[in-house]
Amino acid sequence: MAWKGPINKIDDYRYEIPQSYKSGMRTSGLIYANARMIEDIRGDNAPEQVANVAYLPGIVGKSLAMPDIHWGYGFSIGGVAATDADNGVISPGGVGYDINCGVRLLRTNLTYEGLEKGSGGKIRKLIDEIFVNVPSGVGSQGKIRLGMQDMNKVLEEGAKWAVKKGYGTEEDLEYLEERGMFAHADSSKVEEKAKQRGASQLGTLGAGNHFLEIQKVDEIYDANIAKVFGIREIGQIMVMIHTGSRGLGHQVCTDNLRTMENAVRKYNIQLPDKQLACAPVDSPEAKNYYAAMACAANYAWANRQLIVHWVREAFEKVLGRSADELDMHIIYDVAHNIAKLEEHVVDGKRRKVYVHRKGATRAFVAGRQELPKAYRDVGQPVLIPGDMGRASYILVGTERAMKETFGSTCHGAGRKMSREEAIRRFREVDVKNKLSNMGIYVRGASRDVISEEAPDAYKDVNDVVDVTHGAGISIKVAKLIPLGVMKG
């Protein structure tokens, strides 16, 4: 059922839903897409969600949607909305269930030639070793079980906790968004149940679209910026990790949605969809959620930190060289399901806003204090994962993003087919063979996950990235293609 509301073309990459569409809209909607994609986008009611988000009290600027927009819970996936830090609202639906689901990229000084041809099929050995070293799949349990004291530290210190425990180095923290730790996290705001769900899952990849890939650099678009990120040549080996806050984050979202639904009544907020449930920024409900969300975000940063450590260990074991010798440094780590208090210039004035990014990535321009020192002259690396047969991208943040999208861009490809349909259409063995012929080794925790995650079940990430590049809200730096894939 296609959405019938008004969409006006602004230019080749921008489409507007006028504020006049519905009387409660406080601003217009802006969707980044090309002419072909906008027809698909109309297909699943996501534009209605973009219009609904425009109802949020205190929304600043437009209700935004990135080109990988699709239907989500309350907010569309790919939705971005900024709300005023004094009289706006915070909405858990603007973050999603998998709080701080994100992507981390590790570089190496290895090349495809050296690794695969020179020393005889090491990709397969590396993936097999990582598969043993990093727990994954439905119901997977971590290698460590957190006691309550350590749990509270994870929730308040994030990746820093992991580094203190010997998982990685102090230098790693410099290359994580927020240095892998939201300081405003308060573990007393996380309910016992969430902590229990998280106790046995730290250091696990999870299942579904979460993955770990060994990739190689396939194209470099901007050699100068690439060099700053440590990307030196075509064929260079990288490791990409995509996972989030696991059951802990899901439970934090579940627990707070219930409170927020009551808050909507309590504060008499008029919303067109009850899944946009929110509360005024200074209310106890919003403050509690923001502190608990920060804990879940910290858990996710610690989670990815443990996985990085075990990936390094696997490389060391298989290749017999230290991670340092292999130059296995973190390029960056981005959060793509999160709400953050940030300062932006709006209509010529500096303003503090809560930027909700749900399936959207921060894309800050050069010069921002939030960036690692080494990147401050070029801008923030933006990591965009694609499906296991196509590509992933490294982009860089731009001034245009700061002006138009509160420094935000897309987050990935997005599904185009349900899992059930994918299982029906693609047999595991066929998917594996096809990928194998392309030189990609795949290992899944289950047979179904390979079918579900078949490349053709996804939209083409190249289209999504071309739109953000064309629109100027993030610029292509390098393209990575998969060589070895681990699916949970």
């Binding site: 819970y73 439905v138 119901g139 046995s200 579904g208 899944q275 599904r415 349900s418």
Partner: protein, 147 residues
């Protein structure tokens, strides 16, 4: 078929029919674990009991399934048999005649082991498209999961 699974592009949901309200909760439990694993392979070895309360029957369904998801993850277990009792009780501090619904459940299942094929990880039970209605001589309910 007392329950049906339906899929949207990136999500999965259930439609459950039963003669009684209790039956809706019990079938919904079965439906959820048929998404996570294979019901026929889950033996009724361990028993868990819990009680919850909510303001309405549909919210109670979300809370019930969320509780099962919590037990599944924290006990590393799968469940295949569900027995619930529900009763309406007076809402504490509520207005005259305001009720809420109390549910006590017994669920049976076993620890996850090699014999189980796990299919889909459910992240959360959502309120989206949530319904719980009377139909003919029974009830019908719909729930969507975030996966």
């Amino acid at each position: 078929m007392p329950f049906k699974i339906f899929e949207h592009t990136a999500d999965v949901g259930i439609i459950v029919e039963a003669k009684s309200r209790e039956g809706i909760y019990e079938e919904a439990g079965r439906a959820m674990f048929s998404i996570i694993g294979e019901l026929s392979k889950i033996e009724e070895k361990d028993k868990y009991e819990f009680e919850i309360e909510s303001d309405s029957y549909d919210a109670l369904l979300v809370d019930f399934l969320s509780e099962l998801l919590f037990l599944h993850e924290t006990n590393n277990s799968l469940f295949s048999k569900f027995k619930v009792r529900i009763k309406e009780i007076k809402k504490e501090g509520g207005k005259e005649g305001e009720k809420k619904v109390h549910l006590s459940a017994s669920v049976w299942g076993e620890k996850i082991s090699k014999k189980h094929t796990l299919k889909t990880a459910i992240k959360a039970v959502t309120y989206h498209m949530l319904s719980f209605e009377k139909k003919h001589k029974g009830y019908i309910a719909k729930v969507l999961f975030d996966i």
